[in-house]
Symmetry: D2
Subunit: 366 residues, 4 copies
């Protein structure tokens, strides 16, 4: 199926396997007139790179992006933008053994069932490297949103038992700590926890959160294309995410109406809300307050401990997965969440432009 595209008007199509020649993305429907250069994209790609701390894998990935089309004299032209990242340091030899069996927690078995065989090198299409295309495209979406006064920011909310204290929110910490937590103190504890996890030959799950600030009210659609529904799909489509929450999320199931309802009030002449349990979305449409999304990410499935599994011949075997693996997925996935969110919101804003006859009239009769 044509399952590698996302978005309706601002539409991205990613391609590439972890150990193929290259990975990339085509962004179709990007408005004309945005200043864009490789650095705008590279700075986002660098945030998902490994090898920058004790808690990420020491594999080195260059991941240099090249703009192949859609930009002329420094500006987007409205035609598709093709972005390319060559795979440079992937050594296929590392992965030959896993061709024969199914790694627990990985997509090896399901790929074989669907397609009859698989590119087994490093996870192939279901590798974390697949997100390179998402991040490259999201960098452009985020830049466009910035032009419209909208900021999307994701960060690590918790790692195993260690939770960031948002009352001490430190935006700089997101980009400078190894965990991408907005709380340096929690970051330190999380690093310690992860080091112990590594010693245990194990891995840890975590939670990441994303906030959209400056989004006007009225974005999103009332039924299937609810803003939260599309965000849920966008975020759940990131490998290893197993739960998505909007606003108070899971807590609402224990809440009461009198607690959960956000009272409307007036603030500086505009309709506003006293609280934000809803996470900025009512009936699938943004309400003008901050949109908040949370995603729960499973522990890295590749661990050094011995595990039971089955090989392609249907024999039960015991395996130890070699190679170099992050003990946690979250810190590098934070930028992926930010990018998928940006793409979703921008697309919803573009789609929204024809919701009223008055808008069409203004547009075509200025």
């Amino acid at each position: 199926m044509a399952g590698s595209s996302f978005g309706t008007i601002f539409r991205i199509t990613t391609w590439g396997e972890s150990h193929g020649k290259a990975l990339g993305v085509v962004i179709d429907g990007c408005p004309a007139g945005l200043s864009l250069c490789e650095d705008d994209i590279q700075s986002y790609l660098n945030r998902r790179k490994p090898g920058t701390s004790s808690i990420t894998t020491p594999r080195r990935e260059g991941d240099l992006v090249e703009i192949l089309s859609g930009v002329f004299e420094g500006k987007t032209t409205g035609t598709p933008i093709s972005l390319l990242v060559r795979n440079t340091s992937q050594i296929s030899g590392d992965y030959s053994e896993i061709a024969s069996y199914y790694r627990p927690g990985h997509a090896d078995y399901t790929f074989d069932q669907k397609y009859g065989f698989r590119d087994y090198r490093g996870g192939g299409r279901s590798s974390g490297r697949e997100t390179i295309g998402r991040v490259a495209a999201g960098a452009i979406a985020a830049k466009l949103l910035q032009e419209l006064g909208i900021t999307v920011r994701a960060y690590t909310r918790s790692i195993g038992p260690v939770e960031a204290d948002l009352s001490k929110f430190d935006a700089d910490a997101i980009l400078s700590t190894p965990t991408a937590m907005p709380d340096r103190e929690a970051d330190a504890r999380a690093v310690a926890y992860l080091e112990q996890t590594k010693k245990d030959l194990d891995s840890s799950g975590g939670c990441m959160e994303c906030m959209i600030q400056g989004l006007p009210a009225g974005i999103g659609d009332p039924v299937f294309e609810k803003l939260d529904a599309n965000l849920a799909k966008a975020i759940m489509s990131i490998g290893a995410v197993k739960a998505v929450e909007i606003g108070d999320g899971c807590e609402v199931s224990r809440s009461r109406g009198s607690q959960n309802n956000d009272a409307f009030c007036m603030k500086d002449g505009t309709v506003s809300k006293k609280t934000n349990h809803a996470g900025g979305i009512l009936g699938g449409i943004s309400d003008g307050s901050t949109v908040t999304i949370r995603a729960h990410v499973k522990p890295t499935p590749s661990i050094y401990r011995q595990q039971d599994t089955v090989n392609r011949s249907g024999e039960e075997i015991e395996v130890c997965i070699k190679g170099r693996h992050d003990p946690i997925i979250v810190p590098r996935a934070v930028v992926v969440m930010e990018c998928m969110t940006a793409i979703t919101v921008l697309d919803a804003m573009m789609v929204n432009m024809s919701a009223k006859l008055d808008s069409l009239r203004d547009f075509y009769h200025d």
Copy 2:
């Protein structure tokens, strides 16, 4: 935007407002040759009907479905199936007051922001009655899945603090208790809790769960069209749902790889798994075990207590919402979750048929 359609090959388009003339759905892409009559659909619609217990609103809704097209001599023809449910007992007079202000927790304000005005009668398009089309279409999807040996079953997992004990799973209880819980003892406690909630002029949230049994391995796509991503969208698009979990869901963020990984094993000659933390999906593709999804639903926003809000003229006011409201959304939403799940899974199965060249060859050269 054309936001009232869902699905790629098996595609539904719902329409209708709570107090308009009628509601309905067009199902396009339903395979030819399925036996189908109105009763097949009516039995699902009856499950979302109110008025059957002390915990649902005593409003009476006939909700009789009529098949207008796509069925000939008792079988689907492959052409679009149009289903119609007339609104019979909706009295617009009940709702005239709320035209002037924004109900907390409802989509009144966001609709006005998006479209400039709204059909204010009973929630209009964002009423719970919008789900009639989803359920009518889902009944057909569920019948098709049944033909393929696949069962989709949703039920209430918890209501406020009362949780069903799944070790006592009683399938009959789902259809016969007022709460749709699969545990009669928990049902009794939940009913008591809801009666107290009503006395408090309040409402309660709850959690519902859905299981897909018999789904073959290999369904779903590896990147954006992951089976779990599409399920997340499908379920989050149901009004009032604020969180979606797959398998262990939120728990994975506190888990370790050695706990979370499901070991593969052999069972009756097939690849199987010793545990199912993943909820039946690996890398976006079904793995042959039971698929499990959970949804957290906010409390009914319409409550009898006085609330602060704002009117259309921008004045802060206090309101008491009249009318008759369910103290909880979950029991009537369970069938909606079941139906959206069925539609999503069926569509993924249809899309999957051309994943291998061998499949095309077999199909066209039998």
Copy 3:
């Protein structure tokens, strides 16, 4: 397949068979704020009705449209508009014989091959009555375009050997002559030709043409979503159309660049063209001049003459198709062409609103 929808943002989904209970359409993505009542639609449906002259079938079809949703207090709300037309005078008994064999020129055989069986009554889904939904939706699209100063007008260009003389263009004649020709003199000759054709127990083909006036330059996309490509699909999807031309159409293959190129010039301070061989579209995008499309329609396949064919048991037989048939399809198809054109153009205009960053900025920061 979900093949009953058309359009991206302004999206219609038609349903219904010629002898089912009803036919209809759901229009999703219609902007909010358009004044709309049943009469706006009925006047278009009346143009495709039979029984108004000697050259159309005397079958009577009421075809009264009912608006079921999406309109509140006389205005569209932005939510899906469901339109219903009950089948009232279709008598299934007329068609029982044709169940057993394949009518030449009809879709009987191909439906059986695709779906295994068919609703054989009056053509079922491939009947001309399928266009009721298209026309009902097109009436709304045309009304929206009118609000934007754009007029779409189709008419009969030729019937068999009789061609309308466009130098005598008489717009009133389109709606008042039996042939829908804009030339009363040619109409008279065409009627005479068709009467002879009927006497010969035969039918005739014809050509229809459509003009879009007032369309601004810049509408359409450069590659697959070219305005002319979408118009070609829209018009070729009307049953019995076998060729579509834009501007000079087929003639270009015998033309030279020096003849075919339209020189640009200035007119009232705007860029204009001295000629319009291109039919108003350059590189898939409207150039501000009149867009012209032509469609060639095959003769009605149901004729009273004896014909050779095959029955479902694979026996060669001779048949005479009974019932009442128009000797020509074109006059009643003209309004269908007009409507499909309106839908296509309106959708392209809605999609176009986010082509420039400046447009987004203006929209969201007014």
Copy 4:
């Protein structure tokens, strides 16, 4: 808009400008298990290359394709196939002058109107080089069809006044003559005609035709996704095509039912037709006979003669377009038509697999 994609299940996304760094295509939804190497694609790309005769431009284009993803150990994996062709010999300096004015017959003006500015080098996105992506993707579609016993073959039908005589059909001539005509004698006359056209500083239109052989009955959908409607869109989306005909095409408007209907008959135990005026499609669905499509292509708009036009400042000027231009588009467009046809047909076949419940049952319970 996201207008650079085509197809539903077998979906291609092209990108690239004539003078950018590269052009390419992503093919998503290609079934797993097809043997594929660069040569399979290169042989198709070579057919659209210039510089091979007196009637094509002597510009040299290497157009070497590189497979970047989706193929593993010589077979497609079911994941997106990314194909890249670097632009090597494009010299931007050639085109600097045309930045200031609008070439007649080109998309310069319409691009400026839509996007505010344009990549003016060599036509940018609306250059003929845009078709490189289509051809590369079409080569894969054609190879898949071949595996299913289906052949798609396009050729030049006429050039200016010179028409190929199909009764002398010579398949080898298509690939070996400069005009791509299947008639060597007509080719010789067409070459002479084009040489005269060049001397006249002019260009010529032409007509191309495509046949699909071996296509089973039952492919295509009855309403908007008719096989002929999608072919019309596919072919009309090729730059410079101004008319598309199916079967008898335009002739049907002068025909009578008794001539135009194709009588069914039995042949070798299968339902067949005595004639094929319909061009292999009835009611939008293939009928098992050869599908025939014709496209009329305008003369190359770039001619050496002086032409009137307008510059970006709104001044009327006279221009002579420099550079090297083919005197005719058709011979190099033939392979593009073949490729777009192959893509359209393959996609329709993949979509068709779930038309019957029996097909799903067979697929999932073999």
